[in-house]
Subunit: 215 residues, 2 copies
DNA sequence: CGATTCGGAGAACAGGTGTTTACTGAGTGA
DNA sequence: TCACTCAGTAAACACCTGTTCTCCGAATCG
């Protein structure tokens, strides 16, 4: 165990993280705008006034939380997808990976789903920005023709690529929300959601294969 | 003008509606769980104590709001869809109708989108229930083969019908939310959303046409 | 007409809220 | 080592919250 005294930036980063974690935990049953500054500091074990050393207000903490959640998730998904060989059964694997991520990080996904159209506009904007990055990533992957046996995405015009990647990203977000609505200790309910989501994704890609490509 | 004194149930129903409207108006920039009972009564012009004559708490008001919003919307959509002759261009017409509804009733749709995954579980459940009814309606229409030139929905198994109607309902909710995110006085932004949504719906139906039907 | 119902008013309750202020004391760079 | 930086403390500020109580007065009913 390393018990050396923490350097000052380390200590600051640590309590900042404690604040973020406390806020995330409080948001399991409520939304960001209904959580008070004092409530967060109480859960984090610091004084209300000390909050201002880290964030100007609760909304800014929310934005930071978005960047942390979706930033790390994007990195995770990137590495996972790079490891996917084109010979895999892409659809069911993708949904399974999503389900696993949601299961391992319920709080993060719940936060995103809850605040995506929630009451704090700065947080909404931050989420929309990150989801746009997800869609851009996905469009690149589609253009790279990773979906073996699928349509020839590389011949598509850019607008159509964005159209379908937005559709898929939205479907993923909705799937995550549906998984969260299912009770965590009911594997059969989650399994039904996963099965339906897989069929829906398959249907979407079936439609994409038939989508008229323009020269 | 009818200035006769209102009967007692009429008066009660009127202030109840005033409460619902006041709450809906307050939710333009914030979510339900962050709105206080006193705030609602202040906006409605009544005493805090009088609130309890209508609802036991704010959450129950939220549930009533869901029923009112989605109940009337369901009726509207039903009549609209019954009036659609199969010869119309169904897809673009559907999206246009949705866009018009959203434009005319921004507050209602914003409420639904915001609270669908929001912090009040009773409201979430009420919304999920109503959306399920929407999906059931849609499944019936699909089975009735109203989509001319489309796939033979009447030969599908029930599970697949639900799967695709859920997908379409979700797409509609997301489209409504996207329209709300676009500034109300920017017709070109809304037009882009409408165009993209139409193409996505077309792609989904294209996939449905190819979906393997089982005997 | 008289008795009763009941939506709403008004005041009081204990407790929570965000923000500012002056202060402490440990880590830090010259 | 010594002056300094700065994360965190403690207390006070004015204000807002949900809930309960008693009371009023007009619509209602026998």
């Amino acid at each position: 165990m390393n018990h050396r005294p923490l350097t000052r930036p380390e200590q600051k980063a640590r309590t900042r993280q404690t604040l973020l974690d406390a806020a995330l935990a409080l948001m399991e049953h409520r939304s960001l705008s209904s959580i008070g500054l004092r409530e967060i500091t109480r859960a984090a074990g610091i004084t209300p006034a000390a909050f201002y050393r880290h964030f100007p207000d609760v909304d800014s903490l929310g934005v930071a939380l978005v960047d942390q959640c979706l930033g790390s998730l994007r990195a995770t998904i990137r590495t996972v997808r790079d490891g996917l060989s084109p010979s895999d059964e892409v659809i069911s694997r993708s949904i399974d990976i999503l389900a696993r991520q949601v299961h391992d990080d319920r709080a993060h996904f719940r936060f995103i789903a809850r605040e995506r159209h929630g009451g704090v506009s700065a947080v909404r904007a931050a989420i929309a920005e990150q989801l746009d990055l997800f869609a851009a990533d996905l469009a690149v992957d589609l253009a790279a023709d990773k979906m073996v046996g699928g349509p020839r995405f590389d011949r598509w015009i850019v607008a159509d690529l964005r159209m379908i990647s937005n559709l898929i990203v939205n479907h993923m977000v909705w799937t995550a929300a549906a998984l969260l609505d299912a009770p965590p200790d009911a594997p059969e309910a989650a399994a039904r959601v996963i099965d339906a989501a897989g069929r829906q994704l398959r249907l979407i890609l079936l439609g994409a294969r038939q989508w008229p490509t323009e020269p």
